[in-house]
């Protein structure tokens, strides 16, 4: 699965972007990268930031280790 990876600077600029009932939030992958799914690129709710989202690096998703209970 391909996801979008943000640098810390990109994360700071984009994380928390809101448009109505839509919110952009990055998650951590198994390598501690900030990532978000590629569906945000086709979501009209995020049209205003598509140019910035398209600059994110495409990487293969690394699953998060099982959390402690």
């Amino acid at each position: 699965m391909i996801v979008l990876k943000a640098t810390q600077t990109q994360f700071n600029a984009l994380d928390g972007y809101r448009n109505g009932d839509n919110l952009l939030k990055f998650a951590k992958d198994g390598n501690d990268n900030w990532i978000v799914g590629t569906a945000v690129l086709n979501d009209s709710a995020f049209a205003a930031i598509h140019d910035q989202l398209n600059q994110l690096e495409r990487i293969t998703y690394v699953p998060v280790p099982e959390p402690e209970l």
């Binding site: 839509n22 998650a27 992958d29 799914g37 569906a39 086709n42």
Partner: protein, 265 residues
Amino acid sequence: MALGLGIGVYWATNLAGGGGGFDADYQAVLDQSTSFGYTVPSAAQQTLQNTLVTDLKTAGVWDKLDVFYCFATDGDSDFATLNWKAPSSHQVTKVSSPTFTANEGFTGNASSAYLDTNYNPSNDAINYALNAASFGFFISDLGTFTTTSISDFGAPDVVNRAWYRRSSNRFYINSSGYTFVTAYTANTFVHANRNGSNNAQVYHNGTLVDSPTNVSTGIPPLNFNAFKRSGIFAESTLGVAFVGGDLSSESSDFHDAIDTYLTAL
């Protein structure tokens, strides 16, 4: 003439409640959608959804709900975020673009997408209580992502949890400890319930499948969400979700109302 007037008055005051001949609470959902500029469901589906609301009322479910979401709709994805129980509060936030499919609902992406109900039972509960609580969902697809830590819908990221942990089948409802229960499969209306400090129930499609002796320890102090537990994200598809008070006596009728609606789509 007199008969016609009488029927008209009866309809207006006892049946309709709203401007479109619908139950007043369902009309409020449509009105909220219109005020926000959302796309409401087709006329045929509005009738089905109105029937769903009246069925839930007849079953005694409606008054015991705190939030109710009907994701399976041919309205748009924004309409699907409305809380039918109180359309002006606890609207779902679509976080990082979960996929919306008409008449099916929302699907997670196994990496970052989820639904935040903005309903925190510690602060927002009306019927949900420590020893009288329920939450649940209709799940049509489990997705392909597998781990033992999946949450399809719940409040799992705290000590006192509301979580029907998929794969490992650990069950929590207002509890820090878990009890093993029966796994659910796709196309199941899952209803987790508590009606006592040591009495919980698990219903699948309105049928009691487990009665775990799960001790209550506290109400989760965070929002219910779909598809997210800590950094683990589900890829399942949900058509309905709810949180409320004790619904152990209404579970079968609750399922029947949901099933009638979903089957008609």
